[in-house]
Symmetry: C2
Subunit: 396 residues, 2 copies
Amino acid sequence: MAEVLKGNAVVGQSGGPTAVINQSLVGVIEEARKAQAIKKLLGARHGVRGMKDNEFLDLRKYKPDLLETLANTPAAALGSTRDKPDENYCKAIFDVFEKNNVRYFFYIGGNDSADTARIIRELADLVKYDLRVFHIPKTIDNDLRTTDHCPGYGSAARFVACALMGDDRDNASLPGVKIDVIMGRNAGWLTAATALARREQGDGPHLIYLPERPISQKQFCDDVRSVYDKLGRCVVAVSEGIVDEAGRAYAGKLVSGEKDAHGNIQLSGSGALGDYLAGLVRQMGVKRVRADTLGYLQRSFAGFASPVDATEARQCGRMAVRYAVSGQPSGSVAMKRKSGRAYGVSFFRAELKDVARLTKPMPADFIAANGHDVTEKFLRYVRPLAGELPEMGKLK
Amino acid sequence: MAEVLKGNAVVGQSGGPTAVINQSLVGVIEEARKAQAIKKLLGARHGVRGMKDNEFLDLRKYKPDLLETLANTPAAALGSTRDKPDENYCKAIFDVFEKNNVRYFFYIGGNDSADTARIIRELADLVKYDLRVFHIPKTIDNDLRTTDHCPGYGSAARFVACALMGDDRDNASLPGVKIDVIMGRNAGWLTAATALARREQGDGPHLIYLPERPISQKQFCDDVRSVYDKLGRCVVAVSEGIVDEAGRAYAGKLVSGEKDAHGNIQLSGSGALGDYLAGLVRQMGVKRVRADTLGYLQRSFAGFASPVDATEARQCGRMAVRYAVSGQPSGSVAMKRKSGRAYGVSFFRAELKDVARLTKPMPADFIAANGHDVTEKFLRYVRPLAGELPEMGKLK
């Protein structure tokens, strides 16, 4: 173990917020207060931008009950950023760190944030400046490597499960084809979680399309037709990142100005993919076709976080500080699922290089052979993350 | 009081479902079981269609714990319908009623359903067939006359409030302009309820556009510009039914094939209005512009009903049966708000003709003078209906 560093700490939040990213922030604040090695805890406004521009909040001044409310508030309380720092940007951050005697840097975010953390640590190494860097995972996309799952995913999974659960009942009330477009551009984890909405045979979503499995327009229409002919209705969950048989993203085609099946050019915009797919189904002669793009509610809806997700997100923040002040080398906090019937996780330190920039698509054994569903193994994986879901009653 | 009729009863659900329409159904079932005058309680599959086609479920056979789960399940458990019966359709229903010795008819729905109930009662009067008809109100649009508010509205209000609450924090994290399109084609009640998301000065939604107040494209852009210049961000809640200065619905123009500001023709579809308005804001030079159409989740999201709304919806179902079997003339169940500080309602029987077909726009004193906000009086009206909302924490 290296000697324990003494100095100030910086914490920041980055990328698309989640319902529990503030849990991780509060975890860092709570643990930093206890740590003798950490003097000031500086909260960077809008992630790397605040670090570069020396814009910090003093995080010692907030009272525990405010912090508890804050932890249960969706989105990034410090502000987030989409800036992707290059080398010069990172050098500017590093200069600010040196000036403020920052010896601990905690960054809550996805794989880009892990990469920023990695670069800044390398800069510190280069000039032999002692700096402990910890990445704290967060993403509703659940596509970070090494960790079993990502804080933020469980709450988003809970949201889409309840959305599809209600939507399926709505669709059974007024039958037709309903298409729900789910977030997750490169990986289908969140779209796959809609399968939690099912309770019994015949429940929707009846078709689940993931970016991991290309789908042609023809196959999509054939699949919908097949369910619709059988059940008289069809609920479809589709990832915003689905690609056609040539590997081209549907959404990308719509935004780039390509013409749709009607010869119309779609405006870019969040509803475009759903509307496009609904258009295809209408062309098949189905009368009642609706599309919803679940949008930002998936990551930000207030008062509906998964309790397990909230607890784990808090703990990830705490563990980052504990690892850092106990002299462990820089890294990323990760979770490992405990074996056995009861759900539980243990935490461990992963290497930044194993998380930075990389993504994790759904493994093949989580995706059904037909390409438009998930496996029971995936359901066992995701169920405890979303927490308890409401029961749906039916008249038979 | 007329003499107490003895015979069978029919209950049906109609129109766009809500999160609590099954509460009303269960209220009818529970109370009908107690009523000696009612022998069988027949549940019509898909509203008037099941009545016309003699498709009924026997509602005596379900156990109390299933009914309790059912009450908490969104959407219409019996199935709903968009059929608007004409005279012949009503005659066919009436024939089925006569054949089944139906003496009580309970119809859970909006103003169209009240009208159907009214026509069927008139048919019964014409041939001197004793039939007691009760309409049970439901609509997330909250636009029924006579009643203080409608079952279904409180839960939808709760949903949009929490959606905007989280979305506002998301927008503060990653500033830009966010447009949320809310259900309610003819009245702004639900869009107005997004104002519940605000806790303090500066919180969104910053602009609220209702169908009751025409808005020109220029005024819309000026309003957004003004907020954006002041706060560096702007959250807009807009009803799907907004109209321009000439009284034309924006959504209608998009669907009808009119060209948008870019010269493109929009496909009809649920995301079109939000994408169109986002396009206008992008043209103003704002970089980060997003639009979400909250869609069917507003009425169907599982596990998130307003407790007050759920209780009142159940009670409306019960009261319909009590009125009917106690010999009161046909009518519609309505709620009156009790005076005094603590929220409460009493129930009364309204005339079908005062509810059928009519709609209720927001009154002038619920809409702010600037045309893009609500008044404190409206907030006092809506707050108890949505129930307790989560607290949002901020770092200042």
